[in-house]
């Protein structure tokens, strides 16, 4: 057994940093990337406020906002190559939108339309996943399959801090490490799992420390520092693509809004905590930095805002009325070929006409 060898040689590279990795204020900006991240952040924030507004108008059934977490979401999307796959949770529609999914498609599930509002293969975005951490084994399996086929594909699986407590998180990371699958796990540690704070979720020094238990590197990154998240993910995805195996990345961020519009966060947390995190808002932080380096003009900032307004207007328009669902579609796509039993039920169904075969 190589227990000792591994301990000595690999240990230092497996343990995460003791201070979250940061770039803002500490690195020279990438004049191509950072402005791109900025534009995406501006769009992302607007997307969040617009979607939240649509819940109030009853046009969205429910919206789990990523306000405050936009740096993670846009960095995740932009770190991926076109052949890569994204495995989002319910909170990660912004990552999907930033990857190019039309906002209305990303929000299909949340407005009460069919469960996945897009073709996952067309966008290389898996269905939004609600049962916590269950998307991670899928991410591993897909990454493994791509590797078996010899395809140059890396996979990014997203999960929350609460989701790391689920058995599926453990099993997924373990399979990934044993198979050296080209997959990266990004935990958006936003401090809360609905009403449960991190301290009741884990006693670990950090979530990133879990990596060593699987024999993969763990990285701790400031989740409100978009360039830092992008950098760490890009490095991990490159390593994955090069056959170096999986990485666990923990991004420290904060869920500024309630869990969803249906949640009442005042029942379980102090405004002071929220205020402290608002002060670390990823958007002004990046904006300040860009301006300091002369990488953002007023015109460019205005253009970003206009772009974001356009996205919001498009979203309002797209969600202006209920989607047309055909009741007969209830029976579609349960099987490739419906069972006789299902055909019988469909035939007896008086609920409405039309729909897929």
């Amino acid at each position: 057994m190589t227990v000792q060898d591994a301990t000595v040689t690999e240990l230092p590279t497996l343990l995460p940093e003791s201070e979250p990795f940061r770039m803002l204020g500490q690195s020279t900006p990438d004049s191509a990337l950072w402005p791109r991240l900025y534009t995406a952040l501006v769009r992302g924030r607007r997307y969040n406020t617009q979607a939240t507004a649509l819940t109030r108008q009853g046009r969205l059934a429910v919206y789990p906002s990523s306000t405050g977490q936009e740096a993670c979401q846009v960095a995740a999307a932009l770190a991926l190559g076109p052949r890569d796959w994204l495995f989002p949770s319910y909170r990660d529609t912004l990552a999907a939108v930033t990857r190019g999914l039309p906002p209305a498609a990303a929000l299909g599930l949340l407005r009460g339309d069919w469960h996945t509002g897009y073709d996952p293969h067309a966008h290389r975005i898996a269905p939004l996943c609600t049962p916590l951490a269950t998307q991670l084994p899928h991410a591993v399996g897909l990454a493994h399959a791509a590797r078996l086929r010899g395809d140059d594909v890396a996979v990014l699986g997203l999960v929350g801090d609460g989701g790391t407590s689920e058995g599926d998180f453990h099993e997924a990371l373990n399979f990934a490490a044993v198979w050296r699958a080209p997959v990266v796990f990004l935990v958006q540690n936003n401090g809360w799992a609905i009403s449960v704070p991190l301290a009741k979720q884990t006693a670990a020094p950090s979530i990133a420390h879990k990596a060593i238990g699987y024999g993969m590197p763990g990285r701790l990154v400031d989740g409100n520092d978009a360039p830092a998240v992008h950098h760490v993910l890009t490095e991990a995805l490159d390593r994955a693509r090069a056959g170096g195996g999986p990485t666990l990345v923990e991004a420290l961020t904060y869920r500024v809004d309630a869990h969803t519009n249906a949640d009442d966060a005042t029942r379980y947390r102090d405004d002071a905590e929220v205020a402290a995190w608002r002060a670390r808002d990823p958007l002004p932080r990046l904006e300040r930095e860009l301006r300091r380096h002369g990488l953002l003009t007023d015109d460019a900032a205005e253009a970003a805002r206009a772009d974001a307004e356009e996205l919001a207007a498009g979203l309002r328009a797209a969600l202006g009325s209920d989607p047309p669902l055909a009741p007969a579609d209830l029976f579609a796509h349960v099987y490739a070929t419906p069972t006789p039993q299902l055909r019988e039920q469909a035939a007896g169904f008086g609920g409405g006409a039309g729909g897929a075969p």
Partner: protein, 323 residues
């Protein structure tokens, strides 16, 4: 006193916590938040975090640790946040909780309650509206209980917590806000309730479908049918006596539930009623159920859920010409 069902459940939990120091609640968001349906509202504040505990987010862990607590003599009451989120705990439930008494020849009982908000009709997105009762009914060693009225919500939950065997306690989500009379009585397991006597045919139902059946029975009057409605209350144990008495009298029965039909609860109900009342039946026992499909999106769910029209259509197929 008239209260919503969620509040009756809250009251049952509070009374159980107050009466028996061995009662402990475990679950996700049941503390400060009071549960996503507020069923545990105020209980952590009143009884402390050790009696009403926000656990890490892991359902097998919740049920597994609850089983360990029960082994030590406590009486855990677990909340699964939604029906589909009980599935990760399936192995613990089937391989341990349901069997522990049997595995140990009675030495290690499992006085444990698993509360599961279930069913649809509240506009929940996928994985938030499953009717999972069949899985539990098919697992020997479990009691399976589901209230349809406010009084039963209180009374059956008290009985579940007092039971020395594991109880899967299914709470019909869409009745959480329905108000009714709370009489504070503990209801024994195994008795169905005849909610309405009828001469022509009997609707057999439980949980979220009870109000639908009562409405259907009202509507049936206009068509000249006098329908009885039986609320099963506990699926395990099953009250053959009451059910067969009613069905034998009318000779016609329709089982109504939200769960999928194929291999659903109605299959057992229809089969056992037929075994017992065969020569009283003038028509086969029919079933009006959710379709055999994954739970549909919110904007279509009303088509999936049994409604008065589908129930009356089934009643019409009960071969009245054969009278």
């Amino acid at each position: 006193m008239t209260v919503p069902m969620a509040q009756a459940l809250n009251r049952a939990l509070r009374d159980a916590l107050a009466e028996d120091p061995d009662v402990h609640l475990l679950g996700e968001d049941i503390g400060a938040l009071g549960g996503v349906f507020r069923v545990t509202d105020g209980l952590a504040a009143e009884f402390g975090e050790n009696r009403c505990t926000d656990t890490p987010l892991a359902e097998a862990g919740i049920l597994g640790t609850a089983a360990g607590m029960a082994m030590y003599g406590l009486r855990p009451v677990v909340e699964m946040q939604f029906d589909a989120f009980a599935y990760p705990a399936f192995e613990q439930l089937v391989s341990h909780v349901a069997r522990m008494r049997n595995r140990t020849r009675g030495a290690v009982p499992m006085p444990l309650t698993v509360r599961v908000p279930y069913g649809g009709g509240i506009g929940g997105v996928e994985h938030h509206s499953d009717s999972s009762e069949t899985y539990y009914m098919a697992t020997p060693g479990l009691h399976v209980v589901t209230p349809a009225t406010v009084a039963d919500a209180y009374g059956l939950l008290r009985q579940a917590i007092a039971s020395d065997d594991p109880v899967v306690f299914l709470e019909p989500k869409r009745l959480y806000w329905t108000k009714g009379e709370l009489d504070g009585r503990v209801a024994p397991f195994g008795r169905a309730a005849v909610r309405r006597t009828g001469a022509d045919a009997t609707l057999l139902t439980y949980g979220p479908a009870l109000p639908v059946c009562l409405a259907a029975a009202d509507a049936a009057r206009e068509q000249g049918w006098d329908l009885g409605v039986v609320d099963l209350r506990t699926l395990v144990p099953f009250d053959d006596e009451t059910v067969c008495a009613e069905v034998s009298r009318t000779g016609r029965a329709v089982v109504v539930h939200e769960a999928a039909g194929f291999a659903g609860p109605g299959a057992e109900i229809a089969a056992r009623v037929t075994e017992r009342c065969f020569h009283h039946l003038r028509a086969p026992v029919l079933r009006v159920t959710g379709f055999d499909i994954p739970y549909p999106p919110p904007l279509l769910e009303h088509h999936h859920l049994p409604d008065a029209d589908r129930i009356l259509a089934a009643v019409a197929r009960l071969q009245w010409d054969l009278v």
